[in-house]
Structures are given as structure tokens and as C-alpha cells.
């Protein structure tokens, strides 16, 4: 187990305010960044989230100076667009393992201090502090090939922090690690970032990672930022269908917008954007905004599951959020009161929850998220209903 130390004063650095204004980058006619505007407040951790090729790494590299771009980039009000990388006072952790293979762990961490001509004694002390901070003080004599992937990225983090940079840039630092190490290290990064108060830009394509560690998340597509906000804002009020689809899981269901609501399978749902013009649309409905219950007319229509349980979701014979009685009483035919009949196609156990895909009678497949304790059997007839949360449409 890794034992980490609290952030020492030798590594504390005031967070800087970072601004990217109208940043544009073209690669052979292709616009990798198309007028990116982004502000990082002092001490804030912002995650850049998006699919591969959306420009998030290019934006981070623009901030680091590794890519030359058009537009303004300022750190604490100072325009750094023409400042070379080695003078920008940044720390960076790369996606690929980037420890210098000919240097030991502590020599790697000392590298940045050596380049800044920090006296040897101070250099050694600060490097040791940084290694302790990431819990690897005992491995200071190891070389990169003698460390695991997670350890290498921890050392890279220590190396990036030891110079007390004004901005920390993390370019998918966890993507090469296995799932358990990823979660552990991302929590560690968040702890250290919070303790040091360093302004941080974190690039990732993993939405769970972004939502878990960031103060704010910027969702990118095709070189532009589609929405920036807190994880809660992005999840509950996505600005558009792309964000709704990319952040979290959504069912894409055909519907018709009518008077500020969208009618999906005969059920009218409120819109996140009520000003949307009427017409055909695709509605994005979260799996957790759909409820599920057994449909077993042969058993008397009591909503029982074949497994003997009386119900899904709460044990009271009701839909979560839509009581059975309110929906027309027990055992009523599917289709009435906003319920849709279907059959369980697949079901996946995800720890605290279970995700079940239901094939409706018209062939539409809807994903439903419900409590893991609820039984769900492939082929079982069920009824689903929407909880009525506002939805995004495209």
C-alpha cells in the first residue's frame, strides 16, 4: 500500500488564473482548435473531456507551448503565447510514460530543479518531499523500468510538481493504467491538487474520471467547447444533445417536439430547452430516468417477477417515482398511463446498480438503470415508464 504525506510547504504554490481566448490551431487545413475560449480560475481543476480527435490534447499542448497557435493565452494576465515551453513555468504529466530511463526516481524528480539551477541541498530536499507526497519516497533509487505504470505516473506527477509550477497540465495521465490503479491515482491527484492549490487542466476522454475529479468540466467537440460547467450541471442540464449523449449514458429515442415538450412513445416529457421548435427530434433519456416493473398478466397482473419477487425498485409493487396505483392500479395493461410494455434483452450487474436493456414491443431498445438487488431475467416481460425529468433533444 502506498503511504502518502500531506503536501509540504516546499511544494505549495499559489494557483494562477489561466485564459485561452479565441485559440485556433490548424493541421494541414484541418482545424484542431476552432476558437477555443477557456478560463481556469486560480486553484481550480478543470477537465477537458471529449472524444478522440476533438482537440482536447491540442488545447492542453497549446497552453504548454508545445503547439504554436493563433489566439491569446495568458497566465495571471501575462500573454505567454510567444513564450517557449521551457519558460512558461508549467508542470506536465504525459499520457505516455515519460520518465528519463537513465535517471533514478529521485534524479528524475530533481531534473527540473537542476535546470533551474537550484542548489544541490535544496534540490535533494524538495525532490524527497515531492516523492513523499506521492508516496514513493522509499523508491528513490529505482529506475523507470523497475517501477509499475502507476508508480511511474506518480513519479512523473512529483517531477511536475517539484518546481512549484503556476499551472499543472495532465494529459490523460491515467489512460495506460488498469482500472483499480486509475481510481486510486485519480483520487490521489485530486487530493494533492487540492492541498497544493495549483491550477490544473486535466485532459481525459473518460467521463467518469472527469466528473469525479474536476471542479468544472469542459466538453469539447470538433475543436470547440460545447459546454463548461460543474459535473452536476453537465449531467443534469446538458447544453445540447452532444453533451447529453457524451456525458453519462442516454437512450436516444425518436419523438416529436410539441409546444415545449417532446412526445416519446406517446409520453410527453419536458424539455431542457423549452424554446426548441416543434418537429421531429431525438430525445436523450437517462437510464436512471426510466423505471421498470414486472409485467406478468398470467400471474394475475400483479407485477410479479418470475423470480418470485413482487417488484423491481423498492419492494412495494410500484415504479420508482411513479406509484403503481397512480399509474392506474396494479395489473393494468402495459401502455396505459405512460407505461410501455417490453421484454428484457440483457442485464448487467454493475455493483450498486444494474443496467437492463429492454426491447419494447415496437423493437425500440431502452436502457434502464435500477437497484442491483432487483432481479431481472432475460426474456422476462416488463413495463417501463419515464420519470418525467427534463430531457435534451436534437
Amino acid at each position: 500500500m502506498t503511504v502518502t504525506a500531506p503536501a509540504p510547504a516546499s511544494l505549495a504554490a499559489p494557483g494562477a488564473r489561466v485564459e485561452l481566448v479565441g485559440v485556433v490551431k490548424e493541421f494541414a487545413g484541418h482545424r484542431a482548435l476552432d476558437g477555443v475560449d477557456l478560463t481556469l480560475r486560480p486553484g481550480e481543476l478543470v477537465a477537458l473531456l471529449g472524444p478522440s480527435g476533438c482537440g482536447k490534447t491540442t488545447a492542453l499542448r497549446a497552453l504548454s507551448g508545445l503547439e504554436s497557435v493563433d489566439g491569446a493565452i495568458t497566465i495571471d494576465g501575462r500573454d505567454v503565447a510567444s513564450v517557449p515551453t521551457n519558460r512558461r513555468d508549467i508542470g506536465m504529466v504525459f499520457q505516455a510514460y515519460s520518465l528519463f530511463p537513465h535517471l533514478t526516481t529521485i534524479e528524475n524528480v530533481e531534473f527540473g530543479l537542476r535546470m533551474r539551477r537550484v542548489p544541490a541541498a535544496e534540490r535533494r530536499a524538495r525532490a524527497a518531499d515531492a516523492l513523499d507526497l506521492v508516496g514513493l519516497g522509499h523508491l528513490d533509487g529505482r529506475y523507470a523500468h523497475q517501477l509499475s505504470g502507476g508508480q511511474q505516473q506518480r513519479v512523473a506527477l512529483a517531477r511536475a510538481l517539484v518546481t512549484r509550477p503556476r499551472v499543472l497540465l495532465l494529459d490523460e495521465p491515467l489512460s495506460a493504467l488498469d482500472a483499480k490503479v486509475r481510481v486510486s491515482l485519480r483520487d490521489e491527484i485530486r487530493r494533492i491538487q487540492t492541498e497544493l492549490g495549483i491550477t490544473t487542466l486535466f485532459v481525459t476522454h473518460d467521463q467518469e474520471e472527469a466528473l469525479a475529479v474536476a471542479d468544472r468540466v469542459a466538453v469539447m467537440r470538433a475543436g470547440r467547447i460545447e459546454q463548461i460547467g460543474t459535473p452536476e450541471e453537465l449531467y443534469s442540464t446538458p447544453a445540447n444533445s452532444f453533451v447529453a449523449d457524451f456525458v453519462g449514458l442516454s437512450n436516444r429515442l425518436p419523438g416529436v417536439v410539441e409546444g415545449g415538450r417532446v412526445v416519446v412513445h406517446g409520453v410527453a416529457l419536458p424539455l431542457l430547452d423549452p424554446t426548441r421548435l416543434d418537429g421531429e427530434a431525438i430525445a436523450y433519456v437517462r437510464p436512471e430516468h426510466v423505471t421498470i416493473a414486472a409485467r406478468d398478466e398470467a400471474a394475475g397482473g400483479r407485477g410479479e417477477f418470475a423470480g418470485g419477487r413482487d417488484e423491481l425498485g423498492g419492494g412495494r409493487g410500484e415504479f420508482a417515482g411513479v406509484r403503481g396505483e397512480a399509474a392506474g392500479g396494479r395489473g393494468e395493461a402495459a401502455g396505459a398511463r405512460g407505461e410501455l410494455a417490453g421484454t428484457i434483452l440483457t442485464t448487467s450487474f454493475l455493483g450498486p446498480v444494474r443496467r437492463t436493456r429492454v426491447s419494447l414491443d415496437d423493437g425500440t431498445v431502452v436502457a434502464v438503470q435500477h437497484a442491483a438487488v432487483d432481479d431481472a431475467i432475460v426474456g422476462q416481460p416488463v413495463r417501463i415508464a419515464f420519470t418525467g425529468q427534463p430531457v435534451a433533444v436534437e
Binding site: 521551457n86 506536465m92 528519463f100 537513465h102 529506475y143
Partner: protein, 280 residues
């Protein structure tokens, strides 16, 4: 025969006996001539018998005068080795690094340019080099070190492959970018990151250059320069024993250098953790 027994396993390793046979045959092919050369240096003329006189003669008081041309040739080859290695390190290495980091689209072109000399026989190379050296002599004089320009070309394929294989083994782009974010300028990156990381390839390139230069005869002979091999030929007319002794010494030096490549390029082992101050 069944299809199964007749199948050839791609990439399968030879069995232990096959390995011993192959190594034995190849080893003998190398060892027999070398041992014959060694034995020859101890021969006491056509009458037979063994003597140390050919070896001890090299350290006689008169040896410097007797074999002056040979010692001079050794000095010439030493200079050629140094200049050729310098060409590899000062011209080829930075060019390869620059192309790899900044002009990746030219990497294939550079590879072809560097590999081409291996396809050109030395005699053909000399035909092209002769008029070039006419200019070189007018500009830089006729010193023997100018021959290193030609040797720089002949070692290109070997040096290129050695350095390239080291470059392919590491993510040089990420390492240099990491160094830049850590405040390193390009000179520091070259000295503190690139050269140490490519150490194995650089050493291999340098040692192979040494081996090639020490064994080169054709170009020096046809361009009327004196190096170890041309001097050995000359000496062998009058004293074949000394010629063979020097050939053996050159061979031994080349062996040592090539064996050193593997040793020097081995991965470092962990150092003991540093003593940490006990908490107060």
C-alpha cells in the same frame, strides 16, 4: 508424410543440438583463420619450430625505425577513427534527432540516403570520390584525415541503423517534451536526455565506425593514402609476421569494442535508497 509433420513453424527456435551445430560451424569458420594467424606469428621461418622473436621484435630499440611506416599508419588510422567518429556524432546524430523530432516526414528519405552506401562497392565509390578529392585537396590539403569524409559515408549505413534502433526503443518525442516542460533548453536536452538515452546506439555506431575504419583498404589505397591496412600490405611484402601481428591486434581491438557495446548499453540497476533524515 503427414501434413502436420511437414509443417514449418514460423518463428520457431532451433533445438539445442541444432544450435550447438550452427554455433560450432560458425565459430570454427571464425576461429580457424584467427588461430592460424596466431600460430603463424610464432613460426620460426620455413624450417618450422616456434619463436617469440616476431612479437619481441616489435618492442626492440630498432623497431621504431624498422616499422616506422607501420607505426605512422597506425597513427593515421587513429586520426581517421577520431574524425570519422566525430562526423557520426556531430553530423549524423543531430541530423537524425532533428528529423525524428521536427521533420518526421523526411525520416524515410534520410534512411534511404544513409543506407544507399552499403549498396555501392568501394571501388565504384572511389571512382566518384576521386574528382571530389581533387577539390578537397585543393581546399583542405592532402592530409590523411580528409579521408575520413569518405569513411563517414561508408559507415553511414551501420551507424544509422545502430542509432535508429535505439531511437525506436524509446519515445524520444515525449522525453524531450517532458524535458522542455521542466525548463530544459535544447542544449541541455541534447546533453542530459537524448545522448544518455541513446547511449547504446551511439556507442554501437561509434564502435562500428572504428571497426570499419581500421579494416578499410580499398578507398585508402586507390586514393593513395596510407592507413593501417595499406601499410600492412606493404609490410607483408618484407615481413609477413609483423603484418599478421598488427592485423591480429586490429582484429582484437575491433572485437573488444563490439563486445563493449553490449556491456555499456546494459540497463542500469537500482541504487540503494538514500539515507533519509529521521523525523524530529
Amino acid at each position: 508424410m503427414s501434413a502436420r509433420s511437414g509443417a514449418v513453424a514460423i518463428g520457431a527456435q532451433p533445438g539445442r543440438v541444432a544450435r550447438i551445430v550452427i554455433l560450432g560451424v560458425v565459430g570454427l569458420a571464425f576461429a580457424v583463420p584467427v588461430l592460424a594467424m596466431v600460430q603463424f606469428t610464432f613460426r620460426a621461418g620455413l624450417a618450422g619450430g616456434l619463436t617469440l622473436s616476431h612479437w619481441t621484435g616489435l618492442v626492440d630499440a630498432d623497431a621504431g625505425r624498422t616499422y616506422r611506416s607501420l607505426f605512422q599508419a597506425v597513427g593515421n588510422s587513429g586520426v581517421l577513427v577520431l574524425v570519422t567518429v566525430a562526423i557520426v556524432l556531430v553530423v549524423l546524430l543531430p541530423t537524425m534527432v532533428l528529423v525524428h523530432l521536427r521533420f518526421r516526414r523526411f525520416e524515410r528519405v534520410l534512411e534511404i540516403v544513409c543506407i544507399v552506401p552499403i549498396t555501392v562497392p568501394a571501388i565504384v565509390l572511389v571512382v566518384g570520390l576521386a574528382p571530389v578529392y581533387g577539390v578537397v585537396v585543393r581546399v583542405l590539403g592532402g592530409s590523411v584525415w580528409t579521408l575520413a569524409f569518405a569513411y563517414g559515408i561508408t559507415v553511414l549505413p551501420y551507424a544509422y541503423r545502430a542509432i535508429r534502433s535505439s531511437m525506436d526503443a524509446v519515445d524520444l518525442t515525449t522525453l524531450t517534451e517532458a524535458a522542455r516542460t521542466l525548463s530544459a533548453g535544447w542544449p541541455a536536452i541534447m546533453v542530459r536526455v537524448i545522448v544518455p538515452v541513446l547511449r547504446r546506439g551511439i556507442l554501437a555506431a561509434a564502435f562500428i565506425a572504428v571497426a570499419v575504419v581500421l579494416g578499410e583498404f580499398t578507398i585508402a589505397s586507390l586514393l593513395n593514402r596510407v592507413n593501417l591496412q595499406t601499410a600492412l600490405l606493404q609490410v607483408s611484402q618484407s615481413d609477413p609476421y609483423v603484418a599478421v601481428i598488427f592485423a591480429l591486434l586490429a582484429l582484437a581491438l575491433a572485437f573488444v569494442l563490439l563486445l563493449s557495446i553490449g556491456r555499456l548499453g546494459a540497463a542500469p540497476r537500482a541504487r540503494a535508497p538514500r539515507a533519509r533524515k529521521a523525523p524530529a
